[in-house]
Symmetry: C2
Subunit: 222 residues, 2 copies
DNA sequence: CGTCCTTCTTGAACACGTTCAAAACAAGGA
DNA sequence: TCCTTGTTTTGAACGTGTTCAAGAAGGACG
């Protein structure tokens, strides 16, 4: 199948060129014509492989997610404190995403569109979403945290939502090295951990139960 | 100044036409050429009054916010229960925004761009944001809720953030009459109220104090 | 009335994302 | 070698948001 190899080569040449230009000049200032020219193909050819300009960044997004999963798993190995595990995972994401913040912003703008396949809530993203939630499950299960057992099953999904919140903050973060986002993580993680621990207290239980129920009800598609 | 009156008339004719076409056909499918033609002016003229297509919806957004402020104030008058007041304000927003959900979605996509003046966190939106936070302050102050006094000052801002979360959910909500969003409000408001009340408990105080501190530190521009 | 100045208005032109009919290419079979 | 079929590639063309040089309209002042 020399044919297939050649085809794959063209495709990857296009996406590589696109990523380079996006990081160099930003998403908006990079034209499809420039990408095609840079890759030495026609503009129509780029559209033969990618149905839109937006589509071009999906591959890039998957790449970041994959890197994060690997690096985070590596870094939390051995650690048993819940707060440390969670903090490590989030800081790790900030580390990996840092070089791309400039055009990452544009990505998240597109992702904000509920109709877009790039939305973190869309069906198209479900694989990536499940993987991220899975990582949060490892964070919980690999730790020695004591929890209301009712909460335990739902916590990974809640933590993923919390992570989406951090990402939202990061997108708006214009501080050097995204240090405000780091500050947010450093100081909100202990809070989360504390709240999770509080879930076992009698006064708190009805609240955490109701949170779990509500999320389950909202998740129902009806 | 007949001149000024004429100018205002043209401006408002353009924005009215735009709103009509947006609601009829959606944001993307409404072209600037169609808006100009519908208003009986040239396309360049539309750009004389509005610097971009996006800008055209800012006026509309202000309109919704104003309506919400009026209606919500009206509806919570007399009521003293914190949870009821909060719930009323949020349901009121859902009522008012309902007819526009279809192209409202597009608005919030644009608002997701941190660079956009439409972003709820931007300087350009600060007036509208302050007004919304002010409404939340009325919700708190007009109620008989007992709170950790440290939390009290910050709570309106927290509630505004919570409202932004509800809006984010609403944007993604495809259920009939946005009943999932209503469900979210109905059931999460009591939780919020309960958590607010818990803020006075000794075990909970360090947590609520730390939340207040964190937000203050993040608000510092440095 | 004529001359300036400001405010509005025009529509052609531009750059971009995207589409599509046509061509070029590759590989098998006659 | 020549045809057939499927894949890949091309670039002109379309529709869009946006810009801009040019002009029209409406006073103010001599």
């Amino acid at each position: 199948m020399l044919r297939v190899a050649k085809s794959e080569e063209t495709r990857s040449l296009i996406v590589t060129t696109a990523m380079r230009l996006f990081t160099e000049n930003g998403y908006d200032r990079t034209t499809m014509r420039a990408i095609a020219a840079g890759a030495g193909v026609s503009v129509g050819n780029a559209y033969y492989y990618f149905s839109s300009k937006e589509q071009l960044i999906q591959g890039f997004y998957d790449e970041i997610a994959r890197q994060h999963l690997d690096a985070a798993r590596d870094r939390i190995g051995g650690e048993t404190a819940f707060a440390v595990r969670l903090k490590t995972v989030l800081l790790c994401w900030l580390d990996i995403a840092e070089p791309y913040q400039r055009f990452g912003t544009q990505f998240f703008v597109n992702a904000a569109d509920p109709e877009s396949p790039l939305s973190p809530f869309s069906d198209d993203s479900s694989a990536a979403r499940e993987a991220s939630i899975g990582l949060m499950r490892e964070v919980v299960d690999g730790s020695d945290v004591k929890l209301d057992p009712e909460l335990r099953g739902q916590l990974p999904e809640l933590l993923w939502l919390y992570q989406m919140g951090v990402v939202l903050f990061w997108v708006h973060d214009r501080s050097a090295g995204q240090k405000r986002s780091r500050l947010l993580v450093e100081r909100s993680v202990p809070l989360i951990a504390r709240l999770a621990a509080l879930s076992r207290l009698r006064v708190f239980r009805p609240v955490s139960r109701e949170i779990v129920d509500l999320i389950q009800d909202l998740a129902k598609k009806d």
